[in-house]
Assembly symmetry: C2
Homo-oligomer: 196 residues x 2
DNA sequence: GTCTATAGTGCGATAGAC
DNA sequence: GTCTATCGCACTATAGAC
């Protein structure tokens, strides 16, 4: 690869090395949210960014690769929030910081995050995805109190599922971001016993 | 139609009048949960119940009609639970009864309910569906305390979204039904301030 | 990196016999 | 109510020029 292609990718963990790939993933996530993963074709993605299908295939060999890259792109945002919470020196403030970050992320990306996570194909993929399980483990380590019972892990999983599942649910579609964010934070803190 | 075909459909509100239609909807819901709505073809539905595509088309003129009927079939289960809670004479016990019923339903049908509700096409459909909004209104009337503030409706929507969104989330896929049910009930009661 | 052109497949949907 | 047969179309994916 030529130097110019990787000039703007200083961080090693980046998932989208080239601008062309990043444009495809951005368009794909937007279309997945609007029509579902199965309801989105490569033609639609190509049209969205103004190129032909063949140009898309030059970046990703199959549609599955695009779905996978899109899912990992969303997962990377969650990883960044965990990174920040893990550097928090106060063990008492770290859980609230993490929960706040997750709620902000979920509300900010409410149009895509739930569709991605709820899609059966992606759910199956995550079930066998190593990085995904690693993320869950790190989440639990920050959130769960040391003297918590064995049910704490279960509770954590359910809380996170509730947050990301709630943000684009039909029941809350006509709710503005601020109200949704505030109530989700209230729900999360109540459930965890936090009093931030 | 012959009398034998409608002999086992005494309730007027039934959505699936014929056995043939009921079989199609049951197969469709199962396949939607496994492959998504967009990822399920009429051929797959026909194969699942052992007939040809043309036989399916005889019952429903388009694929959209099948998706719509499937969504209404799931909605009908929620309506039945609200019916039961509305007949509860004690206004104090009714909310807990309703929440318990909703959690039971969500866990019992965790493979389908979240996929159906999260699908963008179905979400758009529900947004303009009169019965859906009617169901939401009845839910709020049972759940919300009379002296509750204006945020109560928002909280109710989020709680319900959290429950149905959580049940088939990747975070909880490896959780058995009993643990999931118990923790969801705990979450719901805490959030509503119930102490059943 | 993007294009045109095309192969091969499966899709939703229809017509008409039984 | 189910069948066979088929239409026209959109899909994923590939080949090869620029």
């Amino acid at each position: 690869m030529s130097p110019s292609e990787v000039a703007d990718a200083p961080d090693a963990g980046s998932i989208e090395p080239t601008a062309a790939k990043a444009r495809i993933i951005r368009a794909a996530l937007d279309l997945f949210a609007r029509h579902g993963v199965g309801g989105t074709s490569l033609q639609m993605i190509a049209d969205e960014i103004g190129v032909t299908k063949a140009a898309v295939y030059h970046q990703y060999k199959t549609k599955d690769e695009i779905v996978l890259a899109a899912a990992e792109d969303e997962l990377a945002r969650l990883q960044a929030i965990i990174d920040a919470a893990e550097t928090e020196p106060s063990r008492k403030r770290a859980p609230d910081m993490l929960v706040t970050g997750i709620v902000d992320l979920a509300v900010d990306r409410r149009r895509t995050v739930s569709t991605i996570l709820s899609d059966p194909v992606i759910a199956d993929f995550f079930a066998e995805h190593e990085t995904f399980h690693e993320v869950m483990h790190r989440l639990r380590r920050v959130l769960i109190d040391d003297d918590a019972g064995p049910e704490a892990g279960v509770r954590t999983a359910i809380l996170l599922a509730a947050i990301s599942g709630a943000v684009m649910h039909p029941f809350v579609v006509d709710l503005d971001d601020d109200k949704l964010r505030a109530e989700l934070l209230r729900l999360a803190r109540r459930f965890l016993g936090l009093h931030g």
